[in-house]
C-alpha cells in the first residue's frame, strides 16, 4: 500500500476532534486522537559555486535568524597513520587564530556579537557551525569565513591546546564510562582500523603532533569540492548565494585523496574483556559487534529493530534492566552508521553487585530480539519514529543539523519527506531478518569496566564467554 507523508495509524481510530464528554465520561479509556498533523518539511535549494562548494539552502522566515553549517567531508578517518587526533585538533584550532585575527579576538567578537561559532570533527566529517541573527549577518559571516578559510595554526596556541588535551586524556582515567567508550571500539576494530583509534587521540599520538601536522591536514582536506555549506533561516537564496560567493568564491579547488578502510578483524566467539576500575560503584557495559555502513539498504529495518531493542524508553533493554529489575538508571543500544561499518553497541551503567545478573539479561534480550516481534510492539516502534519527526524540525538549528547526514551521505533531497513511508514499509519479516543478520549473540565483544575484585568471579560463573583482562586502553596486559 502506498502511503503519503502522513500515515494512517490503524490502532488509533482517526476522528476529526477529540471526543468531549457530554456530562460524565469514562476515565478508564484513553482519549481517541485525531489524525496526526501533516508535516511538510521546507524544500532544499541546492547550488554549486564554480569552485565546487555545494550549497543547501532552506528558507525559514519565521524569525530573523540563520544557521550556517560548513560540512567538510573529512574527519577522524583521514588522520594520517599514527597521528590520531589530528582532525579533532585541527577543528579545535580553527578558532585559535587566523591570518588577521588572534585567538582572544575571535572569542571576544563571538561573545560580543552574541553568536555561536562552533567547530567539531567526527569520524567522517568536520563541521563549523554559525548561529546568528540575520541583522548581524555580514560581520558574523566575515568571522565565519575567516575562521574557515584562513586559520593560521599559531605554534604557541597549539602548544597550549596540546597540553590541555594531554591533561584531558589523563583525566579520562577517572571515568569508567569514558574508559569503556575508548576500549570498546579499540577491541572491536583494532589499531589498524581508524574506528579503533580514539578521535581525540592518544597520549602518544598527541605528544608527537606539531602545528605543521594540523596545517597539512587542513591543506589536504579543507577544499571547496570536499564541502557543503548548509544554510537555514531568514535568507533569500539568490542574495545569500552572492554573499557566499564573495566570501568563499576564491577558495581554491584541490584533489582530496579518497579514503580506504581496512577490513575490521573478524570476531570469533563471544569474549568478555574486563577492565579493572578498583572500587567502581557501577560496571560500565559496552556489548556489541561491527555493524553496518550508513549506505546499508537495511537502514530503516535496523532503525525500527533498534528502537524495539534499545532505542527508546520503553525498549526491551531499558524495560528489563531498569524498569523491571532496577539494575541501572538506563540501558540502550545503537547502530553508529558511518561511511564504513560502525559499531553496534548495547550499553548501561550497572550497579556492581548485579554485574553478573545484568550480563545474563543483556544476552537474553540480544537473543530474544532475533525471535518474531509481536505486532503491537512493532507498530509502536514505527509510530514513535514516524510521529516524533516534526520535533526534529522545530528551529533553524534543528533543520541545519538534520541536513548534515543528507549532505555527508548523499541522501536524496526528499529523504525526510519519504521517511514516514520508508518506516511504514518495514515488515515484521524485515525486522526479524536484520536482527538475525546483525545481532549475533555467539560473536560479541563484551567490554566491562568495573571493580575486578568483586565482579570477576561472578561474571565467570555466568559462562557467557571467556574473560580476558585488558588495560584501560583495551590492550592486553603485558
Amino acid at each position: 500500500m502506498k502511503h503519503s507523508m502522513v500515515v494512517a495509524i490503524a490502532a488509533l481510530p482517526l476522528i476529526a476532534l477529540p471526543l468531549l464528554a457530554q456530562g460524565t465520561f469514562d476515565r478508564s479509556k484513553p482519549p481517541e486522537l485525531g489524525a496526526p498533523p501533516r508535516v511538510s518539511l521546507p524544500p532544499i535549494n541546492t547550488r554549486e559555486l564554480p569552485n565546487g562548494l555545494k550549497l543547501m539552502i532552506v528558507e525559514q522566515h519565521e524569525l530573523p535568524l540563520a544557521d550556517f553549517t560548513l560540512v567538510i567531508g573529512s574527519g577522524g578517518t583521514a588522520d594520517p597513520g599514527g597521528k590520531s587526533g589530528v582532525a579533532n585538533l585541527t577543528a579545535q584550532m580553527l578558532r585559535e587564530g587566523t591570518t588577521s585575527r588572534k585567538s582572544l579576538d575571535i572569542a571576544d567578537q563571538s561573545s560580543f556579537l552574541g553568536i555561536s561559532l562552533f567547530p567539531q570533527a567526527s569520524w567522517e566529517s568536520t563541521t563549523l557551525s554559525l548561529h546568528t541573527p540575520t541583522a548581524q549577518l555580514d560581520s558574523a559571516l566575515a568571522l565565519f569565513a575567516d575562521v574557515a578559510l584562513h586559520p593560521s595554526f599559531p605554534a604557541n596556541e597549539f602548544d597550549r591546546i596540546k597540553k590541555n588535551r594531554l591533561t584531558e586524556l589523563l583525566q579520562l582515567r577517572d571515568q569508567g564510562p569514558a574508559i569503556a567508550n575508548t576500549a570498546f571500539p579499540a577491541i572491536l576494530y583494532g589499531a589498524g582500523h581508524p574506528y579503533g583509534v580514539p578521535l581525540i587521540g592518544t597520549e602518544a599520538s598527541v605528544t608527537s603532533l606539531s602545528a605543521a601536522d594540523l596545517q597539512s591536514y587542513y591543506q589536504a582536506n579543507f577544499k571547496p569540492n570536499n564541502a557543503t555549506l548548509i544554510i537555514v533561516g531568514d535568507v533569500n537564496p539568490a542574495q545569500i548565494e552572492q554573499k557566499i560567493n564573495s566570501l568563499f568564491g576564491t577558495w581554491q579547488r584541490g584533489n582530496v585523496a579518497p579514503l580506504t578502510y581496512a577490513e575490521p578483524p573478524k570476531a570469533s566467539g563471544t569474549t568478555i574483556y574486563l577492565i579493572d576500575k578498583p572500587g567502581a560503584a557501577q560496571s560500565s557495559f559496552r556489548i556489541g559487534s561491527v555493524g553496518v555502513p550508513r549506505s546499508t539498504k537495511d537502514y530503516f529495518a535496523l532503525t525500527v529493530m533498534n528502537t524495539i531493542l534499545g532505542g527508546s524508553f520503553s525498549s526491551r533493554l531499558n524495560q528489563n534492566l531498569r524498569e523491571a529489575r532496577g539494575y541501572t538508571y538506563g540501558a540502550a543500544s545503537r547502530f553508529d552508521m558511518r561511511r564504513a561499518a560502525g559499531p553496534f553497541t548495547a550499553s548501561a551503567e550497572i550497579v556492581s553487585a548485579k554485574s553478573d545478573s545484568a550480563l545474563i539479561e543483556f544476552l537474553k534480550e540480544l537473543n530474544n530480539i532475533r525471535q518474531t516481534i509481536p505486532a503491537d510492539e512493532l507498530s509502536r516502534a514505527k509510530r514513535y519514529l514516524q510521529l516524533q519527526l516534526p520535533e526534529n524540525f522545530e528551529t533553524t538549528r534543528d533543520i541545519a543539523a538534520a541536513l548534515v547526514p543528507v549532505a555527508l551521505y548523499n541522501l536524496p533531497l526528499d529523504y525526510y519527506n519519504t521517511y514516514v513511508q520508508n518506516v511504514e514499509a518495514v515488515t515484521k519479516a524485515d525486522v526479524n531478518r536484520v536482527a538475525q543478520q546483525y545481532i549475533n549473540p555467539s560473536s560479541l565483544a563484551i567490554v566491562i569496566v568495573g571493580d575486578r575484585k568483586t565482579i570477576e568471579q561472578a561474571l565467570k560463573s555466568t559462562n557467557v564467554g571467556p574473560i580476558t583482562i585488558r588495560d584501560i586502553s583495551g590492550q592486553p596486559i603485558q
Binding site: 478508564s28 541573527p133 583525566q171
Partner: protein, 484 residues
C-alpha cells in the same frame, strides 16, 4: 532567568537517540531583534526588543492553575506541569524523597497500567521526562499536536488517581533505579561528592538546601510506602500545581479538555511551605578536604550569596561570567590561557527560591600547586573589588547572557518552562522582558559592589584530592586568604 546550570535538578531518564537522524535537540536563539541593534559599542540593549510570550492564565475551582500560550509554527505542543514541592520540603531522614517520588509518578496510576505511560506516549510520537530541584518538581511531554489529549489524560490520572494502584514493589523498583542514578551522577563520578560536601558545610543542618536533591543512600533506603502516600496527599493536589501548555492547539478545545480531565480532582489541604530559612553565618574561611579517585586535585570556593530574583542576583550572574566563563574572562585568561597552570575554571551564581550560593571551581594542571593557583584567584577577585571591570567586559557578559535567555524561547518546551518558572518565582508568566531588563540595568559599579559584598566575605574552600594525598589540600596556612 532560566539558566541551564541553575536547574541542577535531577531528571528522570537518559535521552534516547536511535540513529544519526535523531539530531541533537538544541536550544536556539529566537527573535533576536534586540541583537540587531548591536553595533561595535552598543549601549545595553532595549528590553522592548525581546519578544513577549502572550499567555492566558486561569484557575479551576479546585485550585489548579493553567497557563496557555499558542505557537502554531510547528505542529507540536508541550505540556509542562509544575508541582510546587522539591527537595527543600523534605523531612529529616528522608533526603532525596521528592526526587524518588518524581520517579514513582511514571509507574502508572488507577487507569494506566505499569509501563503503559511511556508506551502510549511513544506510540503517539511523544517524548517525556521530569526533573526535581530544591524548589519544584516538573513533568513534561512534547507531542504532535493531535496527541495533546493523551498527555492531559495521563497527567490527570497521576494527579488524581495515583494511590489506588500504588504499592511497595513500585517504590522498591524506583528506589533501586534512583540509587543507580545517584551512582551514575555522584558516587561513580570523579569529584561527584564535592557538591553535597560543600552544601553540608555552607548551610546549617536545619537549612533545606543543606542536603542534595538526589539524597543519601541511607535515606533512600528508609523511604516507605506510607511516606509516598503522605507526600502525595500533602503536595500533589491540584491547588499545588500549575500546568503550562505551549504550542499548536485551539484554546477553546484545550480548556474543555482540561476541565474534563482535571476539573473533578478534589482540592487538597492548603499547602504550607516554609518561607524563611535559618540564617547562614560563616565567621571565617573554612577549609575542607575530600579524597576521591582522581588524577588531579580540584578547588571549590563557595560563598553564601542571594536567592533567585533578589536585587543582586543578576549582577552576580554577570560577575560569574566576567570572572571565569569566557576565554577572555579574568580567571580563564590568566590561569588557563596565559599561565597555563589550570586545566579548567568555572563560576556560577545559583539562586534558588529561598537562598543562594556563588561558586568558583578550578582544576590545576598536573604538577601545579593549588596554593599558587589560589594566589591568582585571590588577586583577580581583589582586583575586581578594588578596580572594577571594564565596560567591554560587562557588555560582553550581558550579550552572552541575553543570547542564553533567548535560547530558551526557541522551542515550545522552553517557553512552557519559562512561563512556569516566572509564574512560580515572580507571579507573572510573561516576565521575560523585565528579566532581561534586570541584566541590562547592571552597571560596572554594581559588579564591583557585589564582588566586594559577597566575595569579600568568608567562604567554604573544598579541595578534592587524589586518595592518600591530603597534603595537597588548600589551607589558610598555605596562604589561602583567611579573614580579610
Amino acid at each position: 532567568m532560566i539558566k541551564p546550570f541553575r536547574h541542577v535538578g535531577v531528571s528522570n531518564r537518559a535521552g534516547y537517540r536511535s540513529s544519526e537522524e535523531k539530531v541533537r535537540k538544541s536550544p536556539t536563539l529566537v527573535a533576536l531583534s534586540y541583537l540587531m541593534a548591536l553595533t561595535a559599542l552598543a549601549a545595553p540593549l532595549g528590553a522592548q526588543a525581546i519578544p513577549r510570550i502572550p499567555f492566558e492564565k486561569y484557575k479551576l475551582p479546585n485550585g489548579l492553575e493553567v497557563i496557555l500560550h499558542e505557537d502554531h509554527s510547528t505542529p507540536i505542543v508541550a505540556v509542562d506541569t509544575w508541582y510546587h514541592v522539591g527537595s527543600g520540603d523534605e523531612l529529616p531522614g528522608r533526603t532525596g524523597f521528592a526526587h524518588l517520588f518524581e520517579h514513582i509518578m511514571f509507574m502508572g496510576s488507577q487507569h494506566v497500567p505499569v509501563g503503559a505511560f511511556d508506551q502510549m506516549l511513544e506510540a503517539a510520537g511523544a517524548n517525556n521526562n521530569g526533573s526535581t530541584t530544591e524548589d519544584r518538581t516538573n513533568y513534561y511531554e512534547t507531542l504532535p499536536s493531535n496527541a495533546l489529549p493523551l498527555a492531559l489524560w495521563l497527567d490527570a490520572d497521576r494527579m488524581g488517581f495515583l494511590l489506588p494502584t500504588m504499592d511497595l514493589p513500585k517504590v522498591n523498583l524506583q528506589r533501586d533505579v534512583v540509587k543507580n542514578e545517584r551512582r551514575q551522577r555522584v558516587d561513580n563520578v570523579p569529584y561527584g561528592r564535592a557538591s553535597e560536601t560543600i552544601l553540608a558545610a555552607l548551610y546549617p543542618k536545619a537549612h533545606p538546601y543543606s542536603w542534595p536533591v538526589i539524597g543519601s543512600m541511607a535515606d533512600l533506603s528508609a523511604a516507605s510506602l506510607t511516606d509516598v502516600q503522605n507526600f502525595f496527599k500533602t503536595y500533589y493536589a491540584p491547588n499545588n500545581a500549575t500546568i503550562a501548555i505551549a504550542g499548536d492547539f485551539d484554546p477553546a478545545t484545550v480548556k474543555k479538555l482540561v476541565q474534563q480531565y482535571f476539573g473533578d480532582i478534589p482540592r487538597g489541604p492548603a499547602v504550607n511551605r516554609r518561607t524563611t530559612v535559618p540564617a547562614v553565618t560563616i565567621p571565617r574561611d573554612t577549609f575542607l578536604v575530600l579524597e576521591d579517585k582522581v588524577q588531579l586535585p580540584r578547588v571549590y570556593y563557595t560563598w553564601h550569596s542571594v536567592k533567585n530574583f533578589a536585587p543582586d542576583d543578576a549582577a552576580l550572574d554577570l560577575l560569574a561570567q566576567i570572572l571565569a566563563n569566557d576565554k577572555n574572562s579574568r580567571l580563564y585568561k590568566k590561569l588557563v590561557y596565559e599561565l597555563q597552570t589550570a586545566q579548567s575554571v568555572s563560576a556560577f551564581q545559583n539562586g534558588s527560591r529561598l537562598d543562594g550560593l556563588f561558586r568558583v571551581t578550578v582544576t590545576p594542571k598536573p604538577g601545579q600547586k593549588v596554593a599558587d593557583i589560589d594566589k591568582v584567584v585571590r588577586d583577580e577577585i581583589a582586583n575586581i573589588i578594588g578596580n572594577g571591570v571594564s565596560q567591554r567586559e560587562l557588555q560582553r557578559a550581558q550579550n552572552v547572557f541575553k543570547s542564553g535567555f533567548l535560547d530558551e524561547l526557541s522551542s515550545v518546551l522552553g517557553k512552557a518552562e519559562i512561563l512556569n518558572n516566572y509564574n512560580y518565582f515572580v507571579g507573572n508568566p510573561d516576565f521575560v522582558q523585565q528579566d532581561v531588563a534586570r541584566y541590562n540595568r547592571v552597571t560596572a559599579a554594581d559588579i564591583q559592589r557585589v564582588a566586594r559584598t559577597y566575595l569579600g566575605k568568608p567562604k567554604i574552600v573544598l579541595t578534592v584530592v587524589p586518595e592518600g594525598k591530603r597534603e595537597m589540600m588548600l589551607t589558610s596556612a598555605a596562604g589561602a586568604g583567611g579573614d580579610r
